[in-house]
Symmetry: C5
């Protein structure tokens, strides 16, 4: 489902490279000291700003934006409907076998709790606590990438200032100013690209994914508890549909 | 009713073009690589920031700002009054026929629910859920255009930085600096125009339209439920009038 | 009472003009294309951002900042006291005649409702609804001028970019750069003056006036309802005084 | 207690002057037209933004940041303890005499109300209303200085733009550009110093002082009402201590 | 545990120094007047903005970011479990001895209150008051460093403006402009480094540490009160585990 992130990264990179090549060379945009001051500086600031384990888990969280969103609310409604009908025909215990085949740990955990005869209110508490910790963990990763989005342009400016002071301090022949000035601006360019092409959009995509996952997990909680209290499968389906934007419902009932 | 959006777009474009022509040529403001880096870059960032379906539906939502606002609170009061009187004289069932002639799906749905004898509290729930999903959907479209308004100037700056690094890196003859510098600034110009002339005002207009639609739909809910509970048509009219700014009421009762 | 707004506009204009004349000519700051792109551009954006009726009523609302604030809380206390004593001696009906002589429609409406024997809770509802619509209308006008304050500098920058691209594109003789550059900067100047000298302060003054009017109207509601319930005039006066900053009370009882 | 404000103003001024003198002359930083456009412009905008009486009382409020903070929570605890013991031994009436010797009007007013036998709930209402008006008045003064902090740099930029347009418009000999450019930048310098050295820190100090005064006045209310209800002096002391940061308590009971 | 802060400070400094040395000399980045105007100016503004004792305690609070975080929630669970089992076997009084060996004052205080037979609700009140004062004190230190992060770049700009006015005012030979301009930019460099490399990340680390400490202290309150009410040690352990991110629990029970 998420073809957008790699497509966007490829497209944006192509646009930048083509624009560069139309009037210059790619090599003049790759400058090792500039890479060091911007990316190294950002990492240094991040190590001061966050505990070291959060820096590592934050960086590891980046590929999340390429992961396909496996949380499909319409598929879930079908699945919950199946479970509800099975439970109705053969009793709650039949769900244990079905849970074993599932991969999604949240749903699995909920079913196992039901099968064990746990009190419905306690099931809700346990699952909602899990959900709120998931939201907090994701929120921390988003805050991490938002910080990078702030620090990137800042270190880009620090790099440009270092370059300008070096260049101007040694200025004797103004005719050489051009190429040196070009190098100074590369760090500002890196910072702007890092923030506006990578971290700000990536943080937004992470937020969108979290919102989608939270919605589906809330539907799971509602659906499982309805099954536990023996509600009619058709009614459960109707209830869960109200969580979805009408235009996205498998059997849409109202346009915009 | 909404002649403002096309008028504003035409006027602003004329002002920009005339200002350009007074002292230069339009052709020097049209630069393919600059268009590519700014608009392409913004789209690339949007693909990373939003799921691909939301990018498409977001872009499709732009013409909304040209759509005439069909939600007229005063016309609604007249319409509700007619329905209330008809229901009073001939019973609720007579409304079914009137609903068939209507085009507005929200009102139609509400009347059909009433005619079917649905419980008033359930009608309110169903219509308010519909309304809140509508608000959320519109809110997402506005967030989409607000993001473009942030990314436009950012990619304008990235384009200018690419241009400056290319230009300065190859600088040998300072006398050629002028025209090249002009090209560098075009991306900044595109970004500023995209944000301040197009997306920021358009997002605001979308918000105004949503607010107008929400108001009228709230009046519909209030009006239909009042009809369902058999209230006096004159009283219903009075109640609905309180939703409208006194100076905008068809029969104004208090100036400012 | 509001001599501040015209005084400020005159003083600020004098300071700007004198500063210009000390080292240049006024004529070099009046440039028709620059006026067109900044003020025209702002109006174009406003037409996209707001429904056309709101643009018109927003622009018409500017002279509000010159209007004298006629809402004097101390005078109101005296007036309410008079009404309370008259009502006590001769009954509520005597207020009808006094209301006829009043010009303030809010107070007048409140008294007429009282004389008609309307239920006090209903009077409060009607007057508070009126007050909240007034606040919303004023809030919309303030949002309108705040938008102009954001768009002014933005269009100033667009104008400067147009000028720079035109100038640099045609640059052959660097010695002519100065005067042309001066013209480019005029739009930035217009935008900065529009925002910081006119719209930001004007919006603030409008907010101050609204706050003063709301305070007095809240006192009117409290005072009239106290009269309606036949409270002691001295007690009503004490109650209303608590709405005013002690240092501003006609009979001050506690300094700061 | 507040030696910080004058010390900071002196230190900062010395640092600025010394930095200037190391490489230039103080006279080149004093420019009458620049003073006029920045400070005059700010005052003009403030006259538009605020009613004229608030401009005057706002400007008068500046010396507040030099006033010693006379609200010492530890001294208050001792004082309340004395009052509580006196009231216990000799009755509430003995407090009247003690109140006469006090200078703090808030505490005095509270005691006089107690001595007059006013209902405790009414005393609390009266004192809390007084306190909330005090907070509002202080909040208005802080908003006034915050506005100056925003307008200072804005008028600094307007001044620089006027200077640049004048300078560039008359540019014939580029070699004279330097000294004229220096003059242009002085207004930006004034605006930056006004905001970052004076108004932003001063507003913060005002907020700190208000917070300290509010805390002590809340302690006064709590303490006086406890005396009025005849509580044990030792218990009252314990209760009031909970208002103070443990490390600041006269008799510290827990370090950090 | 906190190796991140010193590592980040060292890494960032190395990156800055290496970038400087690649194309210039370190000595050209050390300029006494620039240090004076930026760091002296910031301290002067801080003295105006905060009471003098808060400036001192704020500066002293910086090394906090190097302190190892001693609040380990998993170790606490083990410790509480030990205490709960000891209390179960031998009664609450046995905890007094254990408390004597502890270093953490918060836990110690809580146990001593329990041993003294204080009412559980009062213990909770006392400990939560302590906790909220701790949060407020830490919040003040964070606000202090956030202010430095705002003032650093502002004084950097003031320093650059002083340098520019001095330099341009004395400009006669444009060929000497380069090195002087370099010196002007050093203050901007100092301000940017101070804010983005030091104070903004340091403030964030402080917030992270406070959050960790608050979490553990909340667990202490919950754990001690559970012991006081004689709950089952296994149940207490389960309860406390719910405070920790599942993936960080010593005995993890659910992955993400």
């Amino acid at each position: 489902m998420d073809k957008g992130s790699p497509l966007g990264l490829v497209l944006g990179s192509v646009f930048i490279v083509v624009t560069i090549l139309l009037d210059g060379e790619l090599s003049s945009f790759i400058n090792i000291p500039s890479i060091m001051i911007v990316f190294g500086g950002v990492i240094a600031s991040m190590l001061i700003a966050f505990p070291i384990e959060k820096v590592i888990s934050g960086l590891k969280g980046f590929p999340l934006i390429f992961q396909e969103n496996t949380y499909d609310p319409n598929a879930l409604i079908v699945q919950i409907n199946d479970l509800a009908q099975a439970a109705r025909r053969e009793g709650l215990l039949v769900l244990e076998e079905k849970a074993r085949e599932m991969e999604e740990p949240f749903m699995k955990k909920g079913i196992m709790l039901m099968v064990d005869g746990t009190d419905p209110e306690l099931i809700r508490d346990i699952l909602e606590t899990d959900l709120s910790f998931m939201q907090e963990r994701h929120g921390e990763k988003q805050a991490f990438w938002e910080s990078i989005g702030d620090l990137g342009p800042a270190w880009g400016m620090i790099g440009t200032l270092v370059g300008l002071v070096n260049m101007l301090g040694a200025l004797s022949d103004p005719s050489t100013l051009g190429p040196k000035m070009a190098v100074c601006l590369i760090t500002t360019f890196y910072g702007a690209v890092l923030a506006n092409f990578v971290t700000i959009p990536a943080t937004n995509k992470m937020k969108q994914k979290t919102a989608a996952e939270v919605l589906v997990k809330q539907m799971m909680i509602e659906g499982l508890l309805s099954i536990a209290s023996g509600e009619n499968p058709a009614l459960i389906e109707e209830k869960l549909k109200s969580f979805i934007d009408p235009s996205k419902r498998a059997a849409s009932d109202s346009g915009e």
